[in-house]
Amino acid sequence: MDFATIIQILDSAVRLMTPLLLACLAGLYSERSGVFDIGLEGKMLMAAFTAASVAYVTGSAWLGLMAGIMGSLALSLIHGLASITFRGNQLISGVAINFLASGLTVLLGQKIFGLGGRTPALEGNARFGEITLPFADALRDVPIIGPIYAELISGHTILVYLAFAMVPLTWWVLNRTRFGLRLRAVGENPASVDTAGVSVTRLRYAAIAICGILCGIAGAYLATALSAGFVKEMTAGRGFIALAALIFAKWRPWSALGATFLFGLLEAIANRYPNLDLGIITIPSMFMNALPYILTVIILAGFVGRAIPPRAGGEPYVKER
């Protein structure tokens, strides 16, 4: 494997990890506030749909992004209603949201565009273009650093940079701000927040809203940056992988970066080597496709200890029964 190949694989990994990272951080906010969310998949899917639809209709990727966020936020609100206001089962609510998004996107898409749930292909400004960072072309020929800068770091859409910027930002918000302190507290022991005179409900709604926004960006990225339009079920299980990454990362932002990078990298490698020829036997494509999942299990078993979720996670805050 030569250097150029490594750069290409890493470049691919960055693109593949971006939706995972955004969704993973989305889940992080929600779950650190004590609201479990297995509806990441559904929210991303809904966002992908609304983003693509609005981007197509208006011709603006930015308006699409806004719409993606709105679509995802609407589902977040349902999740909040179920799991915060009405103290329902958070897992059931998440399952319902996944179904809801899966059905509604196609239903609405068929109603609006008549393409069986697809949106028409997006062109021009309806998609997020790739950004060439300053001096990328000038530096391209510098050995080592040149390709790294010009091909790996430069040349992604704005949403990729946003996703990566979210990691230190999330860390900073969680650990350095009042909001973060309260957010973490409410996920560990909501009664401590309540008795401090801060509304548990409001905090959790705020967390869920952030979760919605980030899922919205993730969905918009899938539909308006990575590809050019919505196809039914296009999230293809990425919400669940993001959830796995979140647990893998033990609910911490920097680890989330690492975990999603690992998933992205494994997939990029499997894409690059679809038929690994080991001389004696050729590993069939099915197993190269499953490789990221197999390796995840192995890594999980070998190197990652017990993941302890936020203590109040999954439980509605009930004061009086």
Partner: protein, 549 residues
């Protein structure tokens, strides 16, 4: 701060307004009427005690005052001014602070983070933390409330966690401080220390409401005391004009024996022989450093000690479930036969089969499955017992019947075996556990903190049962941080400190003072503290008499 503003506004009434006045407060939780038409007046600058049986409604009433629950009806006056307390923020602003029975701390936060939670000075934490650090230092000096501000809560002993709760209230500049069963988890020395602080606060003109089950504490420190029973306020009296006996009767509605009646022990053969027991936990900390003792038939061995000195590990190890990953060595013999310390035959089920009963220190986490019904809990740990099973299936009818009988004999209230364990008050939960373990007539009973947070009626009852078991020729290992309890129940007392037994005393021949010294690691032969062996979590035990430099 509105309360202070009004005060400085200067009211011309001759009689100073009460710090707190509650007028016909009522509160129902669904069908349960927790508070019924409660009136209460707490004078400014006093310590006001509130007592009552488990489930009488004390915590509920105080939580209403603190804005945690909303009352169904009634009126609250703070410093003479009517105040609608909608949430804890209002209460805090009115100068009310509360230390809950079950602490409201975030376990994996540092002390400092817990202190500023909810009263941060701005959007960023750094300035708040810096300010809190300063204030904390000041408060620590002023009130002798030392805690390391950077330690996380889960690493602190309960006593220190409570300090954090008090500091939280003081940091919020509370004028009125409510403490719900603050001494339930403290050693006598720590409790004494707390009372000195409370007295100091009172001297500064602050008002304190103290809920406790210990009448000695009421008599010792309060100015006035109110008694609650079944959701109602049955009496409010001046402490000086009452007696423990009278209070007990008011509380329970009948006469209560405040001291255990017991005949001298008639020890028989050794039931349990423990030799050189050592335990290193999975973080490599030595928790037990070579423990040896015997317990004979018909004898209660009391183990005294500040919590965190290995008692928990000792009980868990004897009970068959040392913490995961810990390394164990030494030997245990039961009725002359060795017990396995490792391997599959060292589990709790095997220990039970060998005749060891165990009332664990924490009834809610270990002793009971809170979501199981009372009758299901009666089989907990004994679910393999032949009388509870019929072939492949469990004999639920038999278990239920057994449970009904135990509930009756132990006067568990409400006497409803179908209720989930979590719906019983703490005292009644404890009765269920004690009934289960004692009624099987074990050769050896391990019993940890048998009366923590339990009202006096229930304490009397549980103590009686323990003594009865002893009189039936069984061995009892009693672990408690209550020196009073240890002194009145034990036939022999061993004091644990830092994973070692510091010495053994006979209750008749020792004093709280001497035990207190041993608990701090000071043996009478050498009067200097054994500083080399002080474990990290004991760095702050200055509350222990003699333990302070």
């Amino acid at each position: 701060m509105s309360a202070q503003a009004q005060q400085s506004g200067g009211r011309s009434d001759a009689a100073a307004p009460a710090a707190i006045e509650l007028r016909s407060i009522s509160k129902a939780f669904g069908p349960v009427q927790a508070n019924k038409n409660i009136n209460l007046r707490v004078e400014k600058g006093t310590i006001h005690g509130i007592i009552g049986e488990n489930g009488a409604g004390k915590s509920t009433l105080m939580s209403i005052l603190y804005g945690f629950y909303k009352p169904d009806s009634g009126e609250i006056l703070v410093n003479g001014q009517p105040l609608t307390i909608t949430d804890s923020q209002t209460a805090i602003k009115a100068g009310i602070g509360m230390v809950f029975q079950h602490f409201k701390l975030v376990q994996n936060f540092t002390v400092l983070e817990n202190i500023i939670l909810g009263v941060e000075d701005g959007r960023l934490l750094r300035p708040s933390l810096a300010k809190a650090r300063g204030v904390l230092k000041q408060l620590a000096e002023e009130y002798q409330l030392n805690v390391d501000p950077d330690e996380t809560i889960e690493e602190l002993s309960v006593g220190h966690q409570q300090r954090v709760e008090i500091l939280k209230a003081l940091y919020r500049q509370a004028d009125i401080l409510i403490l719900d069963e603050p001494t339930g988890v403290l050693t006598p020395a720590e409790a004494d220390h707390l009372f000195r602080i409370l007295e100091g606060l009172r001297a500064e003109g602050k008002t304190i409401i103290l809920i406790t089950h210990k009448l000695r504490e009421i008599m010792e420190i309060t100015d006035n005391v109110s008694v609650m029973r079944r959701g109602e306020m049955v009496a409010s009296v001046k402490t000086a004009e009452t007696s423990p006996e009278e209070l007990a009767e008011l509380m329970v509605g009948r006469k209560v024996l405040l001291n255990v009646e017991k005949t001298p022990a008639q020890p028989g053969a050794a039931i349990l022989e423990v030799r050189d027991l050592k335990l290193v936990d999975d973080e490599g900390v030595e928790r037990l450093r070579g423990i040896s003792f015997d317990i004979r038939a018909g004898e209660i061995l009391g183990i005294a000690g500040v919590s965190g000195n290995g008692q928990t590990q000792l009980l868990e190890l004897l009970g068959g479930y040392p913490e995961k990953g810990s390394k164990v060595s030494g030997s245990i013999r039961m009725n002359g036969e060795a017990l396995d310390l490792t391997g599959t035959k060292s589990d709790a089920a095997t220990r039970r089969a060998r005749g060891i009963g165990h009332v664990p220190e924490d009834r809610q986490v270990e002793g009971l499955i809170m979501d199981f019904t009372a009758w299901e809990n009666v089989a907990f740990g004994y679910h393999h017992a032949p009388e509870f099973n019929k072939g492949w299936l469990m004999d639920n009818a038999a278990i239920r019947e057994d449970a009904e009988a135990k509930i009756k004999r132990f006067d568990v209230r409400p006497p409803n075996a179908n209720l989930a364990a979590r719906n019983f008050s703490g005292g009644n939960q404890q009765k269920i556990v004690v009934a289960r373990e004692i009624e099987r007539n074990p050769d050896l009973l391990l019993i940890g903190q048998p009366t923590r947070g339990v009202d006096i009626g229930a304490i009397e009852f549980i103590h009686k049962r323990i003594v009865e078991l002893r009189d039936a020729g069984k061995a009892v290992l009693l672990v408690s941080v209550e020196l009073d309890e240890i002194l009145s129940l034990s036939d022999r007392i061993a004091v644990m400190f830092d994973g070692r037994i510091m010495g053994e005393r006979l209750p008749a021949e020792t004093t709280t003072g001497e035990l207190g010294l041993l608990m701090a690691g000071i043996t009478d032969t050498e009067s200097t503290p054994d500083s080399a062996g002080v474990p990290p979590d004991l760095k702050h035990v200055e509350g222990v008499p003699g333990g302070q430099p």
